[in-house]
């Protein structure tokens, strides 16, 4: 009972954000962190649950953004069509890529994911006829939300679009939770913890790594689509390596292999860099130091252990524990 009340209280707080936060800039940060939650939950599936380090995740995000942007600019598809198309398209790309590279897990896998990300950046930069290269694709708009019988709702205001992103984040969270709590999710963890044992039980590590990889990429694609329509502009800069680093920091410091941790990590590490905005070089140096120290000395992350310590168990939004 108290758990249900706690869940409702958290939801009410999240819904109240645009009513309390009147400053456009902070609202912007809330929206961006919501988009990151969607992407980072996807990264956590492959990194946290299956235990394969993918450095292609920011590229999947950017590919989703480009898919949605191209469909909008060339075919006038609105975000309602563009978002599922981006998720499906990027998921399919991950399926093809995974078919090639998931058979060689380990160092080669990690390196090829970077190579893939760079290749996609080259395509976005050099296929000028399609992507306009460095100039990027401007002019994306947010769609109208037309409800049958109720007329149409304008979601272009930040305070309205916030709810779209919040809904997306909640749906992504529930989907991931359903996935990791299912028998598939238990096999993810088994593959991570003991691959030979999994194989000896007839559980194909390749197949389960593939499921996580594709599902994670689809979430990144959907997040990319939200981002493209929200910002209204995509460019090859989206493929920069710094994005994947930030997403990894969100997952690692949030607590990989949990869902609440990386989700809170996404919010925390969207707001934190903005506080360090004054010194941009020092910001990346600080980030890198945090990444090194956290990886070496805090393998469970910071956010999730903190939550586990502070919030009584019976209040907690039940979270699938990492085995």
């Amino acid at each position: 009972m108290s758990r249900r009340i706690a869940t409702l209280a958290v939801l009410a707080l999240l819904c109240a954000v645009p009513l309390v936060v009147r400053d456009d800039y902070y609202l912007h940060l809330f929206i961006v962190s919501g988009i990151f939650v969607v992407a980072v939950l996807g990264l956590d599936l492959i990194v946290g649950y299956v235990g394969q380090l993918s450095l292609a995740h920011a590229a999947f995000f950017a590919m989703g953004a480009y898919t949605s942007a191209l469909l909008f600019v060339r075919l006038q598809w609105s975000m309602w069509l563009g978002l599922p198309a981006a998720a499906l398209g990027v998921g399919f790309a991950a399926f093809v890529l995974g078919g090639v590279i998931l058979r060689t897990r380990g160092h080669r896998f990690i390196i090829i994911t970077v190579v893939f990300a760079e290749l996609m950046k080259l395509v976005a930069t050099n296929w000028v006829d399609m992507t306009r290269g460095f100039m990027g694709l401007p002019g994306l708009a947010l769609p109208k939300l037309s409800l049958p019988g109720l007329g149409s709702l304008d979601i272009t205001a930040k305070s309205h679009f916030y709810y779209v992103v919040l809904l997306a984040a909640i749906v992504a969270f529930l989907l991931c939770r359903a996935l990791v709590r299912s028998s598939i999710g238990r096999k993810f963890v088994l593959v991570r913890e003991n691959e030979p044992l999994a194989e000896s039980l007839g559980i194909s590590a390749f197949r389960y790594a593939m499921i996580a990889f594709v599902a994670g990429a689809a979430l990144a694609g959907a997040a990319g689509s939200l981002y493209a329509h929200y910002v209204g502009f995509v460019s090859p800069d989206l493929f920069n390596f710094s994005y994947v680093t930030i997403m990894l920091i969100m997952v690692i410091l949030g607590g990989k292999g949990t869902l609440v941790g990386p989700a809170l990590g996404a919010v925390l590490f969207t707001f934190l860099p903005e506080l360090l905005r004054e010194a941009s070089h020092w910001r990346m140096i600080t980030f890198a130091t945090i990444l090194i120290v956290a990886t070496l000395f805090m393998p469970k992350g910071i956010v999730y252990p903190l939550v586990a310590y502070l919030v009584p168990r019976r209040w907690r939004l039940s979270d699938a524990h990492a085995a």
Binding site: V47, G51, L53, L55, V100, I101, R103, T104, G106, H107, R108, I110, I111, I112, V114, V115, F116, E118, L119, L122, T125, N126, F241, S242, T245, L248, I252, H281, W282, M284, I285, F287, A288, T289, L291, I292, T295, L296, P299
Partner: protein, 290 residues
């Protein structure tokens, strides 16, 4: 020689220097990978730092160019020894995810420290060589280019001899093949780790210092260099020195031809496609482990 042949020869010559540099960097990377089982994402930063330290010594402190090169390499090796003691020593038995994330963090750290120290502008190391081009049968080159090519080629030979002919190289190769057995016959594994790391850093820094007179260095160079070196290592077979040398030269030549004959901007894609093809059809690399 016909005009098209001359152009081909020009492109190939342009590729040799880059190829030698790739080979040098990849040799160290493959050594660190083989001995320490670490995919060092910070390896390209040693190249970048080698170039920047040499630039600093020559242009800002007025040191003689030929003296600056070894001093720059020594400085980067000193840094590598510190890093090995502070960080890499702890990664010995760590899982792959940990080692990779730490080296990625280190790479970002070093890149942004360089950005803070030297700014984002690409810098060329001033050299004492005359800039007048030399022509052989219509193929143009410069004295600087020939010097760089000679030095990198000589360093490849030196690296190869160290690995193949010295006691240290033998101990490294033994550790490479079987850590426990090497420890049993009295090889100090922790020392081999330190030497392998310093050796790899030295080769990359030397490549950076030498090429810095020819290709401007900037803080962001390190990431690209790391990626190219990884491509070479996968092409040649992870842990193969011959593969690193041949793979480096091949990638350098292929990119030079690509730059000459393909639309601009796509040259870097050659290595990426090559890696994916190799992975599909010959995942152990073109050369087996040596």
């Amino acid at each position: 020689m016909s005009a098209s042949l001359t152009i081909l020869a020009q492109h190939l010559l342009n590729g040799v220097l880059i190829g030698c540099a790739y080979a040098l960097i990849a040799m160290g990377l493959t050594m660190i990978f083989g001995v320490m089982n670490i995919a060092n994402f910070a390896h390209g930063e040693f190249y970048m730092l080698g170039g920047f330290v040499a630039f600093y010594l020559v242009s800002l402190m007025g040191l003689n160019y030929f003296a600056a090169l070894p001093v720059a390499v020594a400085a980067v090796v000193a840094l590598a020894i510190i890093l090995q003691h502070a960080i890499f020593r702890r990664l010995r038995e760590a899982p792959m995810m940990t080692t990779t994330l730490v080296t990625i963090g280190l790479s970002i750290f070093l890149e942004h420290v360089a950005l803070l120290l030297w700014g984002p502008q690409p810098q060329s190391i001033p050299t004492p060589f005359p800039t007048k081009p030399l022509s052989f049968f219509g193929v143009y080159t410069t004295p600087l280019y020939l010097f760089c090519m000679a030095v990198t080629a000589a360093l490849i030979v030196v690296g190869h001899v160290v690995i193949r002919r010295t006691r240290m190289g033998k101990a490294m190769r033994a550790t490479f093949q079987n850590k426990e057995a090497s420890a049993l016959v009295g090889i100090r594994i922790d020392r081999i780790y330190a030497y392998a790391f310093a050796f790899g850093a030295a080769l990359a820094a030397a490549a950076g210092a030498v090429l810095g007179g020819f290709i401007p260095v900037e803080p962001a160079t390190g990431g690209i260099v790391t990626l190219k070196a990884f491509i070479v290592v996968i092409l040649g077979g992870m842990g193969s020195f011959v593969g690193a040398i041949v793979g480096g030269l091949m990638l350098g030549l292929a990119e030079a031809l690509g730059a000459g004959y393909m639309p601009t901007g796509w040259k870097d894609a050659i290595g990426f496609f090559a890696v994916i093809l190799v992975l599909l059809f010959r995942p152990e690399g073109l050369f087996r482990r040596v």
